[in-house]
């Protein structure tokens, strides 16, 4: 299993480096909040932990679940809100030509 995990690690890092480097500074804040949402992927670990947890330490799996979901939903939501604000041109009629 470890070799496959390491292959994932290396490929994701190398391809990720190429793709992420090309994101313009204009979008760096949405990129970061998007990455917040991505880091919520730990929720998958939390789900597995929750499934197989002995009762005494189930709390920690549950806490991780909530934290991770907060990241996932909050992260994607603020990214969506921000990206919607980026407009190419001023909407017609909004220009004040006084």
């Amino acid at each position: 299993m470890l070799p496959i995990l390491l292959i994932f690690l290396v490929i994701a890092s190398v391809v990720g480096y190429k793709v992420i480097s090309a994101v313009p500074p204009l979008l760096h804040t949405p990129l970061m909040s998007g990455m917040n949402a991505f880091s919520g992927i730990i929720v998958l670990g939390a789900i597995s932990a929750f499934a197989y947890s002995p009762e005494e330490i189930k709390f920690w799996a549950g806490a991780a679940l909530v934290m991770a979901m907060l990241n996932v939903v909050g992260g994607f939501l603020v990214t969506e809100r921000m990206l919607k604000m980026f407009r190419k041109k001023v909407d017609s009629g909004e220009d004040e030509l006084t």
Partner: protein, 478 residues
Amino acid sequence: MEYMDIIIAAVIVIGFILGIRLMQMPQTALWGNRLGALCMLLAILYTLSRVDLLASYSIWILLVGGGILGVCLGYQVKMIQMPQMVALFNGLGGGASAAISGWALAVNGADANFVFWLTGLLALSLGTVTFIGSLVAALKLQGFLSQKPVILAGHKYYLAVLLVGGIILIVSGMLISDAFLYYLMPLMIIVFLLYGILMALRVGGADMPIIIAFFNSLSGIATAICGLSVENLFLVGVGSLVGVAGLILTQLMCKAMNRSLPAVLQGFKSEPVSAGYEEAGDKPESREDEKKEGEQEISGEPQHPEERIKMLADKAQKIIVVPGYGMAVAQAQQQVYELIKNMESRGKEVKIAIHPVAGRMPGHMNVLLAEAGVPYEKLFEPDTINPEFSEADLVVIVGACDVVNSAANTAEGTPIYGMPILNAHLAPNIIICNYDDQPGYSGVDNPLYKEEKVITMWGDAGGTIPAVNEIFKDASPE
């Protein structure tokens, strides 16, 4: 682990990467974000089905509960607060990684191998540092803690001792594994909690973009390492993406401020220096004297500042606006955009120059201006806009100091020497609308303030910008 699992994980991770690929352009970025969200949903449903919990109430309550909290936070946060929001999310990501690694060590540690213990303990420590460090950073940005670097006596020794102690604990954990859980793991968590607090406390002010990007990266790295220990391909793949993104941004921010990451983490901050003036033959006198001097220079000119601006308003054709964090603090984005629209309606060409560290996190200024309605086509990066300053007729600086401080080019030995700046000083005419004539975060005086071609308007940008706007309205014909 079957082949099918690997293939599904690979496909979903590729989906996440395509999502980032779409974020390379503002036109498609929204869909990139949505693709990411879809991939996340698929990954969650797939995992739930694998552990047979699709129909479990308790897990859905927790998932939806966390989601609702996310919705509340995500809707309420203002754009100016985005840095602390991201810092908080970094912390939660790190905290979740730490909780899962600790959980995995406690449950599976007994008969696990060396790799499991190494990765588990590493993820636990990194996650803990990210969790508490990010919370401290978020509290600082929100203003609950001092924005300035807080440096205790012997700060760096504490940090060194804690780090060495933490490493010894990690190594001992790998050696004695089982007994470690009960006696040493709580101690290790405390050590790294203290380390994270001390580390974040001594970073402040304009260094915040770097520390946020750094913790962003750490939260991803902790997730990826945690994925190695619990053998989850999704965690490894997506965690690596987050880690790499954070590292790229950290590097960019360090370059934009000409600082090294270790220097930032040490809370390095030089005394205010006026080497630039000493070289130029000026004595660094007290502020009031300097100010008087500046006023005299202006009054020595034939006209009042207002009249000079009026003249410029008539003849300037090519204008570049340089916003800084001061503008955001004064909440003057809207007024600045009004001014720009007014200039444009008078046939002038206006561009906006954005320095990477103009805000409190990477790209922050772009978001703030986008929120005010400024189309992103008007926003330019230093590399693109710098050659144009010498051709511009007028530069308007709003709440920016260090990013236009030409001492960065000349004053060797000052903290900002070598920092890439916006070359506003090359323009023939400059209007500065800053709060006061104090130096920026770097503590280095800005020689621009004393130049003759510069018209200064001290005060809140929410007041001075409309004043300038009025002059433009009166002056130039439509």
